[in-house]
Subunit: 432 residues, 2 copies
């Protein structure tokens, strides 16, 4: 299939081709209250202005719900459900299509074009969703194995439960921030000398990033009522890139017996544009083969519910120089988002629209595919050489980490996520 | 000090004396939309009706904020801050006081009395707060020790970090429910035969309760900015009873390496009335003595920030018979809520108004003080005999667990929490 062509000029390398149309929340100088938009090329279509300008006149099904396009988050749009997301996205594709059926809506409506199409660089991006609960999984098999080898050796690298269920933990919704938000190095208790057994309060010395995907839920489920693996896809709104910043030394001391806590809750960064599940479907794939047969409630029976997303991580130092420190793909997961949701709800845990699930760190095989510095530096033992000659084992103040992700190899038809970036600020001074 | 006496008739054994005035969210047949009230004796003062009836006419400071009393949660009232909570509670005390200065407000205003004072049994209780994030700690020293002995023996019962920091994990906000909500026994993966290493999906066979306190936060703190131990009390709104239902067999299989997950997120019950910190102050106490000196950011220097709350747990079987299965006090905690908040934020984790912190299971010394069945039955090995002759090691379907808590030994001056109850429903049938 040839790439869809728009009457708008879109760079053929853009993440935001007409095949994508991801949703986000913007504010601008002229409309300072956050509101929805879709990304197209290096512009956005401001959905509040588009709605006010009667842009949805030719789509009667959305008209009773048009107020969702003036909300400060995408939750109400998400809550309309996947059939409505599909209808709206496809309608916007036809509006933007070179020879689409509705040229009067926008293409030939110069005053609405002038108002509703805005350069992305003039938009301030906000968290796309009000995040109600956040759960982080651990479904990256190579990551779990590599970390297990570091701490328990290759014989016991994976815990006995690992292949039977998507291991996960509840995260901190309040500390999820949008790309571009600085991340302050956390202070915390660390054990510098295990022989002494007395921790100190110190700025984290093993600050790390984690390459992940996040997936938002768009359909609520009641307490006590599981979401079946068959129904789970209808509960998923869309996908973002995620950097689950981690303080490895704080984690090592605090995590027994109840899991990671302050080592994770100082910040988690997500990309601003939610790529809808429908936009990802052409890139659907199986994930990693599980060599055990999962219990029936997790059995997807060959369904392709992973996505071939090329992922990379860049580290930019205070010299301004950037180095690609990881390249991998999102198929390196043992469990899919539908499986995560089916497992999360099997005991009756209720979900709300706006709940976020993280995939866990995605690592490929081989050193260049390792999705966090803990793995790459073997917990601080091996230096990573950057292109400006600097070396790292963990992150330094002033380092900026940028995750990118994109589907498809065809010019003009990319479905990408843009960037998920965060820069490290020095720790707060500890009051004495 | 003699008990404060009201012109309202209040049973001398009531948890809701004039010394208390806890806040909650009610709905009634005549006002079906949830809104705030305070409990007084066996009645409530409906704050929406009281406000509409000009009840706050003599309290000018609250007047710009009176809309908080028609909200469906207490979050906006909480956000006014502790000085305002104090002013409002003390004003309501004077309004209800036998010889108070404002008899015209309510005592002699029969039409407002008739409308605003409602029997508790005619009120439907709702979650008092919209819960933004929920964290559960593990600060009950005897509980942590007893559980540690069961799984690791007495030599290694407490992990090395235990006395240095309040160990905690992020919980699931969506599954916190108000007292009276039935709790469905969860299904989940359990390992019936460790030799086989293949889990089954099954209704939980080791369903447990946990006796805890919960504390709501009323003051936000920004990402990257710790709340000092000195400032922490001003961030605390009030306290509720909490039952952190637990599925011990699901927990045993799932919890490595990231902590409890589905074993906890099927339901957490809280009592409906939030007892303000000011109401608890007369019962302030030190908690358990920590035999290590905590780091400075956790050092309370003799401040009494625990409360002497007599706690008990009743188990009511399907025969209708109730047995008291636990009696203890809330001073059996190694860390206080201010210490929990100081630790939770030391790395920069942001807080919102409505965040909930659980204390962890509160167990006293001795068998009758054990705050969960895991401890009492030694993980299923020792039966607990109930007063109707039945025996339990864990909870059966139809069992109702009721936690109560009350401060003070003086008739007519109790500051209590009422009840925190939940009844077990059978597991959902597993689709095959």
């Amino acid at each position: 299939m040839a790439p869809l062509k728009s009457w708008l000029e879109i760079d053929s390398g853009s993440h935001f081709s007409l095949h994508n149309l991801p949703f986000g929340i913007i504010s601008t100088t002229s409309t300072p209250k956050p509101h929805p938009a879709v990304a197209i090329g290096d512009q956005v279509l401001d959905l509040q202005i588009f709605t006010e300008g009667n842009g949805f006149a030719a789509l009667s099904t959305i008209q009773p719900h048009q107020a969702v396009f003036s909300r400060p988050t995408l939750n109400d749009f998400a809550a309309l459900g996947r059939p409505m997301h599909r209808v709206v996205r496809e309608y916007l594709q036809t509006v933007l299509l070179e020879d689409g059926p509705f040229p009067g809506v926008l293409k030939e409506n110069t005053s609405l074009r002038d108002n509703a199409l805005i350069a992305q660089k003039e938009c301030h991006m906000h968290l796309p969703m009000h995040i109600t609960d956040y759960t982080d999984f651990y479904a990256g098999l190579h990551h779990a194995y590599n970390v297990g080898v570091l701490f328990r050796g290759p014989q016991n690298a994976l815990q006995p439960n690992y292949k039977h269920l998507p291991v996960g933990y509840h995260g901190r919704a309040s500390s999820v921030v949008v790309s571009g938000t600085p991340i302050r190095r956390p202070n915390g208790q660390i054990l510098t000398d295990p022989a002494v057994k007395e921790p100190i309060l110190s700025p984290c010395r093993k600050l790390d990033m984690e390459l992940e995907l996040g997936c938002f839920v768009c359909k609520p489920s009641a307490m006590g009522e599981p979401v079946s693996i068959k129904d789970a896809p209808e509960h998923l709104f869309g996908v973002v890139l995620m950097n689950d910043w981690s303080a490895r030394d704080i984690q090592a001391w605090e995590y027994v017996p109840l899991g990671p806590f302050n080592s994770k809750n100082f910040g988690t960064t997500i990309s601003p544009w939610v790529v809808l599940i429908d936009a990802l479907e052409p890139f659907a794939s199986t994930g990693l083969q599980n060599d055990i047969k999962p219990l029936a409630y997790l059995d997807e029976r060959e369904r392709k519910s992973h996505y071939t997303i090329d992922l990379s991580v860049e580290l930019t130092t205070d010299s301004g120089n950037s180095s690609t420190i990881c390249k991998t793909t999102a198929t390196n997961l043992l469990f899919s988002f539908p499986q995560m949701l089916a497992h999360h709800t099997v005991g009756g845990c209720p979900f709300n629209v706006g709940d976020l699930m993280g995939s866990g760190t995605i690592s490929g095989e081989g050193k260049s595919g390792k999705g966090c510095l803990l793995e790459q530096s073997e917990n601080g033992k091996v230096s990573i050489r950057l292109s400006d000659g600097q070396e790292r084992v963990f992150l330094q103040d002033g380092d900026e980490v940028t995750i990118t992700g994109v589907c498809g190899g065809e010019e003009g038809a990319y479905v990408g996520f843009g960037k998920c970036s965060g820069k490290i600020l020095p720790a707060m001074e500890i009051a004495t």
